[in-house]
């Protein structure tokens, strides 16, 4: 394992290994400082970035940041690497790769063609020498289109997850939130409930409720109860109406063990859900959530910085051809992303890395109540992500998730962003909004008439 040295003025900076270079090159964040791996000074951070810029991309195929022998995520990344896709960029350094990504001739089609040749560590590395503007510019070139009961990720579209969580899984409360969201044109990415308690009976009840609502109104979207993958597997065995299989994933085997999963389990769940054949316009049916700091919070980070590990989580996700990948960027708390500056930066990094790796990236622009952030910061993040072409955003009633106890975006925020950037919902969902008389003659969302079918159905 080689050491890396960079001289800056009269100072010489030594980095013992590749993961140390990556950690020190990362923009400052509390999680890496907590782990004791962050650059101790800004000068050292710059030195690490210089080292990184001159490193050949091939180095990332030769030096694993987490040992191959002891980590199935590393094995997945190395064994799944596509040399043919890598050929286009194999001669480049990380710095060359950055310049190439930003160049005009490199378009979405070319980026899609190299995606399987880019490892998560390469994606993380190049992001560390890119400013926010660079992350936006490259991500905006990439469209990742997926489909299940509608089509997500098309140019000019912004989808949203309707998140009608309730602290006691109260059916009336959840139904009220769903109705509220649908009237705002929310829910084309998924109508997804985080259950207050993870058990089979509740999961099946909620799945049946969601499916009944979707069927009754013929809504071209997918539903999901975000239970543990093993609970969802049992629900599938009981022939419950499972559209999507959800699971939180992380970038190391040990962190995934902390989530109670392994790669084989995810594969089994995907196959099981495919047998239900519930998709109408596509068969992408996995839904993953991730977040920087998840490995550190499980003490399973192997001395690797949290952003690189987040990219490795995307390396896990892409194997399963997911419909949705959501970075819950500020959810874990200020121990890992301290304030709005760190949350915004991380949200842009995650979106960039995910898209570069070929994933249908969405984001929950969010923060916990003890973080140094507020709704103005979430406005900034969602607008930047909208400009970068994010596939979907999360929205909850009033931007306040009363079950998970954190702050996200409101239904109205999504409407505002769509209006600001001229974005539309998924095409099938937009058609449905028209059929439900929720659009005016210019295609804008309007308040429903008292006679609207959605309101009539819930009238006493």
């Amino acid at each position: 394992m080689a050491a890396y040295v960079q001289n800056l003025g009269l100072e010489s900076h030594r980095f013992d290994d590749l993961k140390s270079v990556l950690a020190c090159a990362t923009p400052a964040r509390s999680g890496d400082e907590l782990a004791g791996i962050a650059a101790s000074t800004n000068a050292r951070r710059v030195a690490a970035r210089r080292v990184l810029a001159d490193l050949p991309l091939k180095v990332f195929l030769q030096e694993a940041v987490v040992p191959y022998e002891s980590d199935e995520v590393t094995r997945l990344i190395i064994d799944g690497h596509d040399p043919a896709a890598f050929a286009t960029i194999s001669h480049m350094t990380v710095g060359d790769f950055r310049d190439w990504l930003l160049s005009h001739p490199v378009d979405g089609a070319l980026l899609a063609s190299i995606a399987n040749g880019v490892t998560p560590e390469m994606a993380a590395a190049v992001s560390k020498i890119m400013r926010n503007q660079d992350l936006l510019a490259v991500a905006a070139k990439i469209r990742v289109v997926t489909a299940f009961r509608n089509t997500l990720g098309l140019a000019g579209r912004l989808a949203s997850r309707l998140q009608p969580n309730h602290p006691t899984d109260n059916r009336d409360g959840i139904a009220g939130s769903i109705l509220d969201g649908l009237l705002y044109g929310i829910g084309d990415a998924v109508i997804g409930i985080n259950p207050a308690t993870d058990n089979l009976a509740t999961t099946i009840e909620l799945l049946e409720m969601l499916d009944a609502i979707r069927s009754r109104y013929d809504i071209p979207t997918q539903s999901c109860v975000l239970a543990h993958v093993t609970t969802t597997l049992r629900a599938i065995e009981r022939r419950a109406p499972v559209d999507l299989v959800f699971q939180s994933v992380a970038g190391t085997e040990a962190a995934n063990t902390g989530f109670g999963i392994n790669l084989a389990m995810l594969a089994e769940a995907k196959v099981a859900a495919e047998t239900l054949r519930r998709g109408t316009v596509g068969d992408n049916l996995m839904y993953f959530e991730t977040g920087q700091g998840s490995a550190l919070s499980a003490n399973a980070h192997h001395g690797v910085d949290q952003q690189t590990l987040e990219a490795r989580a995307y390396g896990v996700a892409r194997v399963y051809r997911p419909l949705l990948v959501n970075s819950v960027v500020g959810f874990i708390g200020p121990e890992y992303l301290y304030d709005s500056k760190q949350i915004i930066r991380a949200g842009l990094e995650d979106h960039f890395c995910g898209k570069l790796l070929g994933l249908p990236m969405g984001c929950d622009a969010c923060y916990t109540n003890h973080a140094q952030a507020d709704q103005d910061d979430m406005d900034s993040l969602m607008t930047l992500l909208g400009a970068a072409g994010v596939n979907f955003l999360i929205a909850v009633p009033g931007a306040d998730d009363v079950m998970l106890n954190y702050q996200s975006l409101s239904f109205h925020d999504i409407l505002g962003l769509r209006s600001l950037l001229g974005l539309l919902p998924a095409p099938e969902f937009l058609d449905w909004l028209g059929r439900m008389a929720l659009l005016d003659d210019r295609g804008r969302l309007v308040a429903p008439a008292e006679s609207n079918a959605l309101l009539q159905r819930i009238a006493p």
């Binding site: 543990h228 939180s248 959530e289 819950v328 959810f331 200020p334 121990e335 109540n369 003890h370 106890n405």
Partner: protein
């Protein structure tokens, strides 16, 4: 966050005076007055006692109270967290304190606070069934450890 601060559940009895200073005579106490009063009214008064050559913190007559200490490189406490598994799925942080420090404008307390929070989170993640942490000083707003995290033993 460059200063070395370790998180431990063990603190020698020779640090009793220092711990009393941090816990009971903290110059920043007034900033969390409402939360401290609520904690004491709900759970009881904290007290330091000695057991097996180590310092412990009890709260009223409640069983199962746990403590974590942030300790400087000199071995003295610079912070403490007192928490309890109040329900099957929930840790409650009864007290969370950091020593006021003369740092010429540097925010040296925040890293200690974050390390203590990380320590509590790690303890919660190691405890089967716990999926949220409630900070009494933070107006009862519990934090979820993860959206749909299920802990395995």
């Amino acid at each position: 966050m460059n200063e070395t601060v370790a998180i431990t559940s063990k603190l020698g009895t020779d640090q009793r005076n220092a711990l009393e200073q941090v816990l009971f005579f903290n110059a920043n106490q007034h900033r969390m007055r409402n939360g401290i009063e609520h904690s004491i009214q709900t759970y009881g008064v904290p007290a330091i006692y000695e057991q097996d050559g180590l310092l412990r913190i009890r709260v009223g007559d409640i069983q199962g109270v746990q403590s974590l200490f942030a300790v400087s490189s000199q071995g003295s406490p610079v912070g403490a967290a007192v928490f309890l598994r109040a329900a099957h799925e929930r840790f409650v942080v009864l007290h969370l304190v950091v020593a006021p420090r003369d740092a010429a404008g540097d925010d040296t307390n925040t890293p200690v606070l974050l390390k203590l929070m990380h320590g509590i989170r790690s303890a919660a993640r190691r405890t089967r069934g716990v999926d949220r942490i409630e900070l009494l000083y933070k107006e009862h707003n519990p934090m979820r450890l993860h959206g749909s995290l299920r802990l395995e033993g």
